[in-house]
Amino acid sequence: MNLQTTVTQIGNKRSATLPWGQWGVRSVALSYLAFMLIIPLLVILQDGLQEGPAEFWRQITLPAAWHALKLTLWTATVMTIVNTIMGTLTAFVLVRYDFPGKTILNGIIDLPLAIPTLVTGVMLVILFGPQEVLGAWLKEQFDFSVMFAPPGIILALLFLTFPFVVRSVQPVLLELDRAQERAAATLGAGGWTIFRRIILPPLTLPVITGALLSFARAIGEFGSIVIVAGNIPFRSQTAAVYVFGEVESENRLGASAVSIVMVAIAFGLLMFADYLRKRSKSSKRENV
């Protein structure tokens, strides 16, 4: 009998003789998740739907609620488009080019993750507030206001979600085989064709995953938005700020209904991102 089988046998025996320990770990971990995560999520479903689907629909189609949801979705969409383009570009520049200050640039990418979102809001107020230099100048010259308006929301969201696309694309770009690009170049392909036909296809999944994560994160953002955009119904009130207002004024049905919509969007997006990640993993395995 060789050592390997002995080791395996004893290992198996150990896990067989200690089931209570592993069962204990499993039940503690699962009850923790149930209590901290699943029960709260279910409570909100139960609360929002208790008056029936008609009432739920009426609550989310109230003009202020509907406008808040639409504003949230379109600002998040604009942010996601800009972030996807600039994030992919940033990852590309970081992987493919050497230039002075590259390490610093790479470090700066993660800063938004370390800064509280409320502080981000304060930063933007200092820059673009109506009494501040830049804000007043923009208002006077172009009649363009960032604060208390959608541009402020988009700017805050861009700041918060900048790392997501970059950090999702960067590792894939690093692993790309440059030989294919050289082969394409010898066959006479130009820079743009190489980028479109060789580099872009394997990047599609990570780009989409990063974009989905940015969008999902943006839907629920509150801290920076409440500071930058305030709480003006029909103008700069996003869904999260609307829910906050309804909770404050004790309108339980309205708060629960809009919360359910937000939770459902978040859930759908995360599940889709998870599915894409699994697919890219399995396709990688097939290639190997």
Partner: protein, 289 residues
């Protein structure tokens, strides 16, 4: 370019690495455009606001900052933030490890779904997170009878704020530890078992040391997120001045009351603390590897 001309000024010498670099990259104008586009974007989007905060806080001089930060409420607010974060980090260090453990080592029905749900707090609005807890523990909440019977206050008190922060920071520890656990070679544990170690000894002496760096990074991220939590603690805690006010809630109130220097300097202090925490652990990790 290899021959150095004698007429070069000291300024040119200082610039020479840059000039040499420019020389090497002549003709790569497409790359140039891309690089400057990205650098400009990052500078505008991320660096300008950060600089603005520092300038905003120091606008009226350092004396004004000290005066603003010496307001009695602010010490309590930062203290509340600090201890809520410490409790949250401790709880997640223990339970987060257990959860990561069962996701990697155990197979049970519903594992994939629950694994996906762990990411929910990342996308669920903090306001909604606080509101969920209010529905559970509030005055007419589902668990109100239990809470009343036990005689503890959860909503509009620190325990509720701890729960809210726990919800919001749930994914960090688990997501840091899962890949580390997956990469860990279980044969080491089996070898320890053949040498007669018991379950606890195996975990403590073999598995735990391998998890250490993942844990440190998970703890840092959890801590940074907990320090900056705002929406959830506002809804469940109510932001009662002098009682359930945290650092972020103080900043919010100061802005509402137009005490700008107080708000800016507290925001700068909180941002710096959080930043140093993350950069510090990053640096530690890089030095170790």
């Amino acid at each position: 370019m290899s021959i150095t001309s004698p007429s070069r000024t000291s300024f040119e010498k200082l610039q020479s690495p840059l000039l040499a670099w420019v020389d090497r990259n002549k003709g790569k104008w497409a790359g140039w455009i891309l690089i400057s586009l990205v650098v400009f974007y990052v500078a505008f989007l991320i660096l300008t606001p950060i600089t603005a905060l520092a300038f905003g806080a120091f606008e009226k001089g350092i004396g004004e900052i000290i005066f603003a930060l010496s307001e009695p409420g602010i010490a309590l607010a930062f203290w509340n933030t600090l201890w809520i974060s410490l409790v949250v980090v401790t709880v997640h260090a223990i339970f987060g490890t257990l959860v990561a453990w069962i996701f990697v080592r155990h197979r049970f029905p519903g594992r994939d779904l629950i694994n996906g749900l762990v990411d929910m707090p990342f996308a669920v609005s903090p306001v909604v997170a606080g509101y969920m807890l209010l529905l559970l523990f509030g005055r007419n909440g589902l668990l109100a009878p239990v809470i009343d019977a036990l005689g503890i206050q959860v909503a509009f008190a620190l325990p509720g704020m701890v729960l809210a922060t726990l919800f919001v920071t749930m994914p960090f520890m688990i997501r840091e530890l899962i890949p580390v656990l997956e990469a860990f070679d279980t044969r080491q544990e089996k070898a320890a078992a053949t040498l007669g170690a018991n379950g606890w000894q195996i975990f403590w002496r073999v598995t735990f040391p391998a998890l250490r760096w993942g844990m440190i990074y998970g703890i840092t991220l959890t801590f940074a997120r907990a320090l900056g939590e705002f929406g959830a603690v506002l809804v469940i805690g109510g932001g009662v001045q002098g009682r359930t006010e945290t650092a972020t809630l103080f900043i919010y109130r100061a802005l509402e009351e137009r005490q700008y220097i107080g708000a800016y300097s507290a925001a700068l202090a909180l941002g710096l603390f959080s930043l140093l925490l993350v950069l510090g652990s990053d640096w530690l990790r890089r030095r170790k590897h």
